[in-house]
């Protein structure tokens, strides 16, 4: 009598389980997996379809040529419209305006770039705000939008 019958049954079960796992795995591998490397190639497409939010200055200029021109001629030529306002997507699509563009007139906006900081390169125009406003009427100096008294943001030499 053969006394290894139980062992062969084990082998059979293992083989079946193994085969099941291999076949099952086939159907679970996502479609484009491994096409270009060890990843799902379609994932690139997922990223590509993410909506663009910042349009860039050229996109702004399409409607606001006057502002764009003013900016282009001045010291803020390299400052993006959207970095002071807001991303284009919150204001308009390629076809139409969807909401008002915020106009931030708070001086913190200006100070992000122009506050005097030890780590800032010296070529950058910087101010110590208290010194800078010393000559002004103290009442004016308290206002958040005091910078706009003297400067035109789009072309920020003295008005």
């Amino acid at each position: 009598m053969d006394h290894t019958k139980h062992l062969w049954r084990v082998v059979l079960i293992l083989v079946l389980a193994g085969a099941g796992a291999i076949i099952g795995r086939h159907f679970l591998i996502p479609k484009s997996f491994g096409e270009q490397g060890f990843y799902r190639y379609d994932s690139l497409g997922d990223y590509m379809t993410q909506p663009v939010r910042h349009g860039g200055d050229a996109a702004c200029a399409a409607c606001h040529k006057d502002r764009a021109d003013a900016k282009a001629g001045g010291k803020h030529a390299t400052v993006s419209c959207e970095s002071c306002h807001a991303p284009m997507a919150s204001h308009a699509t390629t076809e139409a305006k969807t909401a008002d563009m915020p106009k931030n007139r708070d001086m913190t906006l200006c100070l992000w770039c122009h506050q005097k900081l030890r780590a800032r390169p010296e070529t950058m125009p910087q101010i110590e705000i208290s010194e800078h406003l010393a000559a002004l009427d103290p009442e004016d100096a308290k206002k958040a939008d005091v910078c706009f008294n003297c400067h035109d943001v789009h072309n920020p030499s003295m008005k």
């Binding site: 291999i22 086939h26 996502p30 479609k31 484009s32 997996f33 491994g34 096409e35 270009q36 490397g37 060890f38 990843y39 799902r40 190639y41 379609d42 994932s43 690139l44 497409g45 997922d46 990223y47 590509m48 379809t49 993410q50 909506p51 663009v52 939010r53 910042h54 860039g56 803020h76 390299t78 400052v79 993006s80 959207e82 970095s83 807001a86 991303p87 913190t108 100070l111 992000w112 770039c113 506050q115 005097k116 900081l117 030890r118 780590a119 800032r120 390169p121 950058m124």
Partner: protein, 276 residues
Amino acid sequence: MPYMKGEPMNDNKEMKSDAALEVSRRDFLGTIAGALSAVALVIVADDAVYIASGAEPGAPLPAGGYDPDKHSYVYVIDITKCIGCGSCVRACKAENNVPDLFFRTWIERYMVSRSGEVSVDSPKGGYDGFDPSITGDEITKAFFVPKMCNHCSHSPCVQLCPVGASYRSPDGVVLVDEKRCIGCGYCVQACPYGSRFLNPETKVASKCTWCYHRITKGMRPACVEMCPRGVRKFGDAKALHDEVSEIIATKQVHVLKPELLTEPNLHYLGLSMEVR
């Protein structure tokens, strides 16, 4: 090896890019969906070869008009010009919906005194600027360092991802497949630069994508676009006369933690030894 690039795939790709040119951007979502459903997987023999075939031969996978194999992106940050305004940080947050508390790019401020003492800070990643009142005794050099994913050629994060959710795309961008990531956080541990985080909302790993949705449309990453001082430069090493690869080839550039041999594709001009 089951997942090697086989010959049939290469043939397909040629046709792919041609056919794809006609696909307008607006159509492309629909096209992808159509193409995907059309592409059937045929399993040949034992688990070895995948052949894509279907009603639309060579349909664009994954997107129209853009061929990742024709690009190889590079990035340069010129530290000497950075004014620490945080425009890039704010732009990145807005462009990519980065959750509070986490950053895909951030600005560090270094202040070094004559005695060699280094102090570093990065309040809210520089999102709200820097505190002018923080100074030190006799600071002899101070500068800002914008940081982000280095899109390493030999990225430990890709190497360690157990499921192939982290990968480096053919155009050299390190991305996370958000539909396959299991959220183990291994890659977050593996990145030596602190560039990754687990997104508390989606529970998957997240990181800088070099604004993949923009660059594949020929736009620049949002941080580059919004930087007022031209600190950040984005280029394509496979393009003709590329300014950025020219800088890397001819100037004295440096990468972060070079001893780890991760081979970053983000290079720095004017990096100082204090930066880690």
